[in-house]
C-alpha cells in the first residue's frame, strides 16, 4: 500500500492515512483516512470542536501528527525538514478561520505579501492584481480600504482580505477554513462563486471547511464528514447524499438546507 501511496496519483492529490493527534489528554484526531481529489472542491463538514481546523493545519505541515501519514502528490510530508517542507508548502494557500492578517501591514501589503515574497513583479502589476481581487470580493467600494490596517476592518472584511491574500498568487491547492462564516448572504454567494470559479478556471484543488450546508450543497464536488476524530462519511456529493450516515443526516437536516428525499434548496 505504501508504494502505491508514494506515487503521484492522477486523481488523488492529497492522501491522508491513519492521522492521529492529541493535545495533552484530549484526543482530537483518531485515525483519519481521506483522499482529496485533484482539481475538485472537497468540502469537510462537522460540528464545532470536532477537529476540522486541526486537521486542515496538518495538511500543510503547520501541525505535526502523533502518528499517520499525509502524501501530497506522492510525497510524505511528515517529518520533512525546514527547507523541504517549505517547498511543499509552496503548493498551498490557506484561508484562516480568523483571517490571520498581518497586523503590521495594511490591506494592500497584506494581499500583495505572497506575490512580493515569491516573485519579482513590477509594482504596477502587483497593484493591479490586488485591486482586481478587491473588486471581485466587493471590497473596492469601501472608502480608503487600501490603506487601512487589519485592526480597522470589520470581521467580514478581514475575512475577505484573508481570502484575497490566499488567492492572489493562485496556488495549486487552496485550503479554506470556513470562508463564509460571518458574511452576509450576498457576500457569501460571491465568495462561493469565487471558490467555484477558482476551482474551475485554474483547476485548483480546494479543501473547504464549512458550516453552511446550503453553500456546501451548492458548490461541493465531494463531501466528507468529520465526527469524533474520524471521517464517518466521504465521497462524491451524490454518493454521500444517496445513502447518508445517520449523524450526517441529522447534521444536514437540522440545518434545514436539504431534506433527504427532497432536493437541495
Amino acid at each position: 500500500m505504501a508504494d502505491e501511496l508514494s506515487k503521484r496519483d492522477q486523481r488523488w492529490q492529497i492522501r491522508i492515512r491513519d492521522l492521529h493527534k492529541s493535545f495533552a489528554a484530549q484526543q482530537v484526531l483518531r485515525g483519519i483516512d481521506l483522499d482529496i481529489e485533484r482539481g475538485k472542491i472537497n468540502i469537510i463538514i462537522g460540528g464545532s470542536g470536532q477537529g476540522k481546523s486541526v486537521f486542515m493545519k496538518h495538511l500543510m505541515g503547520l501541525l505535526s501528527p502523533d502518528r499517520g501519514h499525509i502524501f501530497v502528490d506522492g510525497q510524505d510530508i511528515i517529518g520533512l525538514g525546514d527547507v523541504a517542507i517549505a517547498k511543499v508548502q509552496r503548493k498551498f494557500g490557506m484561508v484562516f478561520q480568523y483571517a490571520a492578517l498581518f497586523d503590521s501591514l495594511n490591506v494592500v501589503e497584506n494581499i500583495a505579501f505572497p506575490l512580493l515574497e515569491r516573485y519579482r513583479l513590477p509594482k504596477k502589476e502587483v497593484l493591479e492584481r490586488v485591486r482586481d481581487l478587491l473588486e471581485r470580493l466587493d471590497l473596492a467600494r469601501v472608502p480608503g480600504i487600501e490603506q487601512k490596517y487589519p485592526a480597522e476592518l470589520s470581521g467580514g472584511m478581514r475575512k475577505r482580505v484573508g481570502l484575497a491574500r490566499a488567492l492572489v498568487d493562485r496556488p495549486e491547492i487552496l485550503l479554506y477554513d470556513e470562508p463564509t462564516t460571518g458574511l452576509d448572504p450576498i457576500a457569501t454567494r460571491n465568495v462561493d462563486e469565487m471558490i467555484r470559479r477558482t476551482a474551475d478556471d485554474f483547476g485548483v484543488t480546494s479543501v473547504v471547511i464549512s458550516h453552511d450546508m446550503a453553500s456546501t450543497f451548492r458548490i461541493a464536488d465531494r463531501i466528507a464528514m468529520l465526527y469524533e476524530g474520524v471521517i464517518i462519511a466521504s465521497g462524491e456529493r451524490r454518493e454521500v447524499m444517496a445513502a447518508p450516515h445517520p449523524v450526517l443526516k441529522e447534521f444536514v437536516e437540522t440545518s434545514g438546507a436539504v431534506h433527504f428525499g427532497g432536493r437541495a434548496s
Binding site: K57, M60, G61, L62, L63, S64, G79, L80, D82, I85, A86, K87, Q89, R90, F92, G93, M94, F96, Y98, A100, L101, F102, D103, F113, P114, E117, R118, A166
Partner: protein, 288 residues
C-alpha cells in the same frame, strides 16, 4: 516541521514521595533536582533557536527592510532612555567615587574610576537591562500576539520561514544595536561624570582627564562592547523564544512578556560573570 514544542515548564511534576518516606535523603535529592532536566532542555531549545536564526541569516531572500525596521526599534527607539539613564548613572557613580576618594584627598581619580566602571560594567549591563525592558518586552509581546492570532502560521503558508522572517532580523538588530547603544551610554555617562566632578565639585579638569587617559584603555571599551554584543544576542533569543512558544490567549501573551524580561535579565547578569572570567584570560587587567 514548523510547529514549535511547548516550553518544558520546570515547575511541573516533582516526583511524589511515598508516604512515610518523606525525608528519605535520596527522594529529597530527586525532588531537589527534578527541575534540572527541564531547565537543560529549555536552555537547549534556546540554543537551537539561536542556531537556526543564525543559519537563516545566510539564506536568501535578505529582507533588508526588516533589519532596518528592527534596528530602528531597538536602537533609535531606545536612544532617549539610554541617554537619560546613562547621564544619571555617570553622575551618581561620580558622586560616590568622589565621596570615597575624598578620604584620601584623591578626587582627581574620579574620571578614571567612573570611566572604567562605565566601560567594563555599567554601560553594557545597564544598556542591556534598559533595552530589554523596552525592546525585548516589545519583541516578546509582538511575536506572542502574532502567534496566538495565527499570523505565524500564515507566514508559513506563504513558504516564509518564521524564524527567517521574524527572529533573524531581531537577532541581528539587537546584536548590532546593543554595542552601539553601549557606546552612547559610555559617552553620556562621562558627560554626567564631568558635570558632577568638574562643574559641581570643581575638581581640576586637566588632572581628571589626564588620569582618565592614563588609566582607561581601549581594551576596556572593547570588552564592554563584546559583552553588549553577547547581551544583545541573549535578549533577542530569549524574547523571540518566549514569543514564539506562547499558547493560549491574551493572558499568556502577558506571561510570555514577563518571562522574556525576567529570563533575559537573569541570563545577562549570570553571563556577565562568565564573560568577565573568559575575557580576563584574553585581556588580563593591567590596572593603572
Amino acid at each position: 516541521m514548523t510547529a514549535s514544542p511547548a516550553p518544558p515548564s520546570p515547575q511541573t511534576a516533582p516526583p511524589e514521595l511515598a508516604p512515610g518516606r518523606r525525608f528519605h535523603p535520596f527522594a529529597l535529592a530527586v525532588r531537589a533536582f527534578a527541575p534540572l532536566p527541564g531547565a537543560v532542555a529549555l536552555f537547549g531549545e534556546h540554543v537551537i533557536l539561536l542556531l537556526r536564526a543564525t543559519l537563516w541569516l545566510f539564506r536568501r531572500p535578505f529582507r533588508l527592510r526588516l533589519f532596518f525596521d528592527q534596528m530602528e526599534f531597538v536602537g533609535v527607539g531606545s536612544l532617549p532612555i539610554i541617554m537619560l539613564v546613562g547621564f544619571f548613572t555617570g553622575a551618581v557613580t561620580a558622586l560616590q567615587a568622589i565621596l570615597a576618594l575624598s578620604l584620601f584627598e584623591q578626587q582627581r581619580y574620579v574620571g578614571f574610576g567612573v570611566g572604567i566602571s562605565l566601560a567594563r560594567e555599567l554601560a553594557p549591563v545597564f544598556t542591556a537591562l534598559m533595552i530589554t525592558a523596552r525592546a525585548g518586552s516589545g519583541m516578546a509581546t509582538e511575536l506572542a500576539s502574532m502567534k496566538i492570532t495565527e499570523q505565524v502560521d500564515a507566514l508559513t503558508t506563504f513558504a516564509v520561514n518564521p524564524v527567517h522572517y521574524l527572529v533573524t532580523p531581531r537577532l541581528v538588530a539587537s546584536a548590532v544595536m546593543l554595542p552601539v547603544m553601549c557606546m552612547v551610554f559610555n559617552v553620556v555617562g562621562l558627560v554626567g561624570c564631568y558635570v558632577v566632578s568638574v562643574i559641581s565639585y570643581e575638581i581640576d579638569f586637566g588632572q581628571v582627564l589626564a588620569l582618565f587617559r592614563h588609566g582607561v584603555d581601549p581594551i576596556d571599551y572593547i570588552e564592554g562592547i563584546l559583552k553588549a554584543f553577547c547581551f544583545g544576542v541573549t535578549m533577542a533569543t530569549c524574547a523571540c523564544y518566549q514569543g514564539l512558544n506562547v499558547r493560549g490567549g491574551a493572558r499568556e501573551v502577558g506571561l510570555a512578556t514577563t518571562r522574556a524580561v525576567v529570563s533575559t535579565s537573569v541570563t545577562v547578569l549570570v553571563l556577565d560573570y562568565f564573560l568577565i572570567e573568559i575575557m580576563n584570560v584574553f585581556f588580563p587587567y593591567g590596572g593603572l
